[in-house]
């Protein structure tokens, strides 16, 4: 098995938050590896540390100790410029609350990561149209986020995450603000990206609908990995 197979590696990661005199041990020695083109769900009770893992893997927050590798690169060693590059090109983020830029249309929201990447205007327009079509929103290109439904905003967010062809899509509760049917649509879209484009997907979630389409599930409890299940095991679990 070649090293390159792992696109995300997190090794013995600890994260402490200090609130005044109280120290909260949000992560206590978390380790796992994620293979290229895998679809992995991170599940666990509220407060178990899923979002903290999301922030750590995504280079969105520092950790107290431990190592995180994205494509074999130790992200602790990256400077500010390299980190921005990583967030811009390697990883696409999806959030529970969409986090779109409200001043800009759907198409412009997709173009801004490309602006930061230095993609010429013509190419940006073309690419953003293609991606919008892929997520089924070609007719809403000019609409601002405020004029779109929650499900449509999440599609724009997914489209934005895809702007610079990332190796990994990281999601934190992408379906938590959506109703059942819309949530299923979003999960279906993520699965399609995973299968058709080979994008690695890592999603923190409470949503049991994610279980059946995940290759693996990492269960987190009290800041530790409780167990890791393959899809095969999950089906056995479901029957017992």
């Amino acid at each position: 098995m070649s090293l390159e197979e792992f696109v995300v590696e997190i090794d013995d990661v600890y994260k402490e938050y200090t609130l005044g005199k109280v120290i909260i041990h949000a992560l206590q020695g978390v380790s796992f590896k994620i293979k290229r083109e895998e679809y992995v769900s991170i599940m666990g009770p509220s407060g178990s540390g899923k979002s903290t893992i999301f922030n750590a893997i995504g280079g969105l927050d520092t950790v107290t100790s431990g190592e995180i590798y994205i494509d074999q690169v130790d992200i602790a060693e990256l400077d500010a410029y390299e980190l921005a590059w990583l967030r811009n090109r390697k990883i696409g983020y999806i959030f529970q609350t969409f986090n779109l830029l409200l001043a800009f249309s759907a198409q412009e929201n997709i173009e801004i990561p490309m602006v930061f990447a230095g993609v010429p205007r013509e190419d940006r327009k073309k690419k953003s149209k293609e991606i919008l079509k892929m997520v089924g929103l070609e007719d809403r290109a000019k609409n601002k986020p405020g004029q779109l439904s929650g499900g449509q905003q999440q599609r724009v967010a997914i489209a934005r995450a895809l702007a610079n062809d990332p190796a990994i899509i990281l999601a934190d509760e992408p379906t938590a603000n959506l109703d059942l049917a819309t949530g299923l649509e979003i999960i279906g879209l993520l699965k399609r990206l995973n299968e058709e484009q080979g994008t690695t997907i890592v999603s923190a979630t409470h949503d049991l609908k994610m279980i059946s389409i995940s290759d693996r599930i990492i269960w987190i409890r009290d800041g530790k990995v409780d167990r890791i299940e393959d899809r095969a095991d999950i089906q056995v679990d479901a029957m017992t």
Binding site: A80, W85, L101, F116, G118
Partner: protein
């Protein structure tokens, strides 16, 4: 690390377009911020114009000490009003800064976006505030001299008035940019996760 990265490009026209969109989208908020700038600058310009006119009219002992006091106070008011408006405007948008960071914006990109917005508001606010203030400064002297006298006086001193207007614009630009640069830079140094969960 040697990721061998290309130089980032973030052209002036992109920056202006993004900043302009932000002002437009937050139009009502931008108007309030601009009003803060206009008020501060107008108050100062009115008092300065009044002092100038009194000086030109050579009334009695010329400019009195209290005039200097008033101008000093008006400067403080302008300073306080403008910095407060701009600080609040940035503080409301820390989450947005977090979003820019998540999609690959460099700290310098983000600061540039905010500075250009501040510049646009500063130019507009300084210009309008200056015009309004100078007009008011002239208005309050209509009882001291006839309109005819005043217009002769103003015409012969037109360069001073233009300089005053320019000074208003420069002051507004300096204050808005500084009062934006400092908090925007601080916010852009937060990690994206911290910026995203920032509550104001």
């Amino acid at each position: 690390m040697s990721l061998d990265l290309p130089e980032p490009k973030f052209s002036i026209s992109e920056v202006f377009y993004l900043s302009y969109s932000n002002i437009k989208r937050r139009f009502f908020r931008s108007v309030i911020t601009a009003l803060g700038i206009i008020l501060g600058i107008a108050f100062m310009a009115a008092l300065l114009t009044n002092s100038l006119i009194l000086d030109w009219l050579q009334t009695g002992s010329g400019v009195e000490a209290y005039q200097y006091w008033l101008v000093g106070i008006s400067l403080i008011v302008a300073f306080g009003g403008i910095t407060n408006s701009m600080l609040m405007a940035v503080n409301e948008r820390v989450k947005e800064i977090g979003v820019y960071k998540c999609i690959g914006g460099l700290d310098s990109h983000i600061v540039r976006l905010f500075i250009v917005e501040a510049l646009l508001l500063g130019i507009l606010g300084g210009f309008l505030g200056g015009i309004i203030g100078i007009g008011m400064g002239i208005g309050i002297n209509l009882n001291r001299a006839s309109l005819q006298e005043l217009s002769v006086l103003l015409e012969s001193n037109i360069t001073s008035l233009i300089l005053l207007l320019l000074a208003c614009i420069v002051l507004a630009i300096v204050l808005t940019s500084l009062a934006t640069f400092i908090p925007a830079r601080r916010a852009s140094k937060l990690s994206p996760a911290e910026a995203l969960r920032y509550e104001n």
